[in-house]
């Protein structure tokens, strides 16, 4: 029998948490202000299955796994162009699941072709390199270095979740060993991570169903420290049947981003008290993990990117939404 338990005290995991009942200072709450996005009737402007977002100074790039394309928008949400098409040839994509901007290039995790592809900002294919796993998300660490995540299969020894490649596409580091047990389904949840690029080539890792911490890595891949997350950050826990028993899953974080030294974490939200889905409360944490504010969105969001205080999010319908969430 599935049960729902709420950990923490500030909104982030369900309607029952609308009152701050716990210790500590009251946390400022505010509602996000939505920026209207102009409708575009063109087929290619519609997002089929958006899985990742990246931004540069004035554009937003969305990896659309269904259309096998990268769709480019202005930061006001106006559709500009699309590049890539289904296939396995140069510049073609099969289930693109990650996108990042690295220097003057757009880098794409070409998942089912098991490769990383690069394009110019205008969409001209420039090349890429193969990887020995299905790449999931991709992040720029600066200096041409790329961080690629992969979902462990559970069937190979010593699998790692994080892989860094240098500007030439050569492996430079791999780490964060996958958690492995006899229950591969349970392990799949335990190994789900979110990554936020940091400053000066470092990065941060958050387990979606993990402990109350954010792992900070140096550019070399060395784990610098675990940042404890404020006890007032709330998230739900559920039990899900598995392997003849039940597995306890923490909905610690469904989506996350980092902008100007602040972390934006959206906890999972309890669904009918027995499941976990995307949430609509975003907690703003400082570099020490202290809760600074809680922002209420008008809808649940599956994934988002915060850039210059503006949140670019994918909602339940797979549509692009833009909110002002900055301090």
């Amino acid at each position: 029998m599935a049960t729902g338990v709420i950990a923490g005290t500030v909104p982030g995991g369900g309607r029952s948490l609308l009152k701050n009942r716990g210790p500590g200072q009251p946390v400022p709450r505010r509602k996000a202000v939505e920026v209207p996005v102009a409708a575009d009737g063109r087929d290619e402007a519609v997002l089929g299955r958006p899985l990742a977002l990246a931004a540069d100074a004035d554009r937003l790039y969305v990896a659309d796994a269904l259309d096998c394309a990268i769709k480019v928008f202005t930061k006001d949400g106006r559709f500009l162009r699309s590049f890539g098409r289904k296939g396995a040839g140069p510049g073609e994509l099969s289930f693109p699941s990650g996108v990042a901007v690295s220097g003057d290039e757009v880098v794409v995790a070409d998942k089912l072709n098991l490769r990383i592809q690069t394009y110019g900002r205008e969409g001209a294919a420039r090349g890429g390199f193969k990887v020995p796993f299905a790449p999931d998300r991709v992040f720029s660490l600066g200096g041409g270095r790329i961080l690629v995540t992969g979902n462990p299969t559970g069937r190979r020894p010593e699998e790692t979740i994080l892989h860094i490649y240098d500007a030439a596409g050569q492996p430079a580091w791999r780490g964060l060993e996958a958690r492995a047990s006899k229950d591969r389904v349970f392990d799949a949840f335990r190994n789900m991570v979110l990554v936020c690029p940091g400053d000066e080539g470092g990065f941060f890792v958050i387990y979606k169903s993990g402990g109350r911490e954010i792992l900070e890595y140096a550019p070399s891949g060395v784990l610098r420290k675990a940042i404890g997350v404020d006890e007032r950050y709330a998230y739900p826990t559920v039990s899900i049947p598995a392997g003849g028993g039940a597995m306890k899953l923490d909905g610690f974080c469904w989506a996350a981003s980092r902008d100007r030294g602040l972390f934006y974490l959206a906890a999972a939200e309890s669904v009918d008290g027995k499941d976990l889905g995307p949430g609509r409360w975003v907690s703003v944490l400082d570099g020490q993990g202290r809760l600074r504010a809680v922002v209420e969105l008008p809808c649940a969001v599956h994934r988002f990117l915060v850039s210059d205080g503006r949140m670019f999010a994918i909602d339940d319908e797979g549509a692009l939404r833009i909110f002002e969430v900055g301090p």
Binding site: D136, A188, I240, D275
Partner: protein, 72 residues
């Protein structure tokens, strides 16, 4: 109503697993089994679905992989 929902979900899982693994079952080839299992898991993990459904579908991927390896 609940039984109907369970039956519908089971049907969906069988159709999904069958479609994903149809070729591999014919070929009975370990490489194809591995590739199809990887695709099945990756599609599932990127579904953006609530986790209960994801857990059920991941289990279906593993069952289909076992069938594929056994050639049944």
């Amino acid at each position: 109503m609940r039984k109907l929902a369970i039956l519908a979900l089971a049907g969906l899982i069988l159709v999904t697993a069958g479609a994903t693994f149809a070729d591999a079952r014919d070929l009975n080839d370990q490489t194809d089994c591995n590739t199809n299992h990887m695709k099945c898991r990756e599609y599932t993990l990127n579904l953006d679905a609530p986790w209960y459904k994801v857990a059920v579908l991941l289990t279906a991927c593993d069952l289909a992989f076992g069938k594929c390896m056994l050639g049944i």
